[in-house]
């Protein structure tokens, strides 16, 4: 399980724009680097990031090797109702890591 930092408000007013910042620990190995023997280090990146809000997808990103290590993604979404935001990161091997946060919307 990679270390994750997620920053978003605990509560918001209905219709307010919520800013979300996410950071996940991952080397984002490009597949172009050579090891000390001159062999290519295989590509291993997070290629997709998704955010759902009470089950509905509100944002997703396709990532390529040009995204820096320990990927940082900041985006926003409208506070529509109280509930759960689920963040997931999927890597080249098809492994997915998921984190969730609650939000209260008045």
């Amino acid at each position: 399980m990679a270390r994750v930092l997620i920053n978003l408000p605990e509560s918001a007013k209905r219709g307010e724009v919520i800013e979300i910042k996410t950071l996940i620990q991952h080397p984002m190995e490009t597949g172009y680097r050579l090891d000390s023997n001159g062999a290519k280090i295989p590509r291993d990146i997070i290629n997709r990031f998704t955010c759902t809000y009470n089950g509905e997808e509100v944002f997703h990103a396709e990532l390529f090797p040009a995204i820096a290590a320990n990927p940082f993604i900041a985006f926003s979404t409208l506070a529509t109702e109280s509930g759960e935001l689920v963040f997931s990161w999927a890597d080249d091997d098809g492994q997915t890591q998921t984190e969730s946060r609650q939000i209260v919307v008045e």
């Binding site: 270390r3 930092l5 910042k21 950071l23 620990q25 984002m28 290590a69 320990n70 940082f72 900041a74």
Partner: protein, 256 residues
């Protein structure tokens, strides 16, 4: 590399006298970094180094070793009990009769108290724990001890800092005392104060220790870097912290 040689020749040509940085002229690498690097450091929610600090926080409470103890079991809450600790490392260890740095102190606890395996240099776990402990001194001034027993070691560090070495025949002092603020291959030369370690170095794309950074410098002047944990390495760390005494701890700093 050719540009480094050019600088080396220029430095040799200019009759450079070792000019220590005056206390009031001391600047952290932060002050010399670009606005983007500074912004990355300032925002705790976006500073990549905080990923390791967060990991360290979990490790602090994790039981380990034959003694099945966590750091917390002996030390309690890090927020209060570790406050100011990193600010006075390297510190003299009476049992060993020499100074040790924070990484070595953590490993002494691991092996002697927890009766666990020591953590490898630059391992995720050691970096995380060091970053977490050092973070508890964030905002505090560097305050390494002034005691007589440290004198011979800081004197060694002082000598190493001023000694020319490597194929490029450069001393730390020539870049970091005499030419700080100027550019070396497009990068601004900092004064070399270890105020934000362990540091998230963009070049590494990872958090790393002061010893790792010193090894990079030594490779840069084409000399054999000190082994991790070597007495010279710790003596140099001690000297650098003394040279930076009073400056504010920024861990985890972000640097290019």
């Amino acid at each position: 590399m050719r540009s480094l040689l050019a600088v080396a020749l220029a430095l040799l040509a200019a009759a450079a006298m070792a000019a220590e940085v005056a206390p009031e002229a001391r600047r952290s690498g932060y002050d010399l970094a670009s606005p983007e690097v500074r912004a990355m450091q300032d925002d705790d929610t976006a500073n990549p180094g905080m990923l390791w600090v967060s990991q360290g926080e979990s490790l602090w409470a994790k039981r380990a070793g034959a003694a099945a103890l966590s750091c917390q079991d002996c030390h309690g809450e890090a927020r209060t009990r570790m406050k100011g600790v990193a600010a006075r490392y390297p510190a003299f260890d009476a049992a060993l009769g020499r100074p040790i740095d924070l990484e070595q102190r953590i490993n002494l606890c691991r092996t002697e108290r927890q009766r666990a395996e020591s953590l490898a240099w630059e391992s995720e776990e050691l970096l995380a724990l060091t970053a977490f402990v050092a973070r508890q001194s964030h905002g505090l001034p560097i305050a390494v001890d002034d005691s007589p027993e440290l004198k011979p070691f800081s004197a060694l560090g002082d000598e190493l800092f001023h000694r020319r070495e490597g194929q490029l025949n450069l001393s730390c002092s020539q870049c970091h005392d005499d030419n700080w603020g100027k550019r070396l291959a497009g990068s601004v030369i900092p004064q070399g104060h270890p105020s934000g370690y362990p540091v998230y170095r963009l070049e590494w794309q990872s958090l790393g220790s002061l010893q790792r950074r010193l090894r990079n410098c030594m490779t840069g002047v084409r000399t054999e870097p000190y082994e991790y944990g070597a007495p010279e390495a710790v003596a140099l760390e001690l000297y650098l912290m003394e040279r930076a005494r009073g400056m504010t701890i920024e861990t985890p700093a972000v640097r290019p």
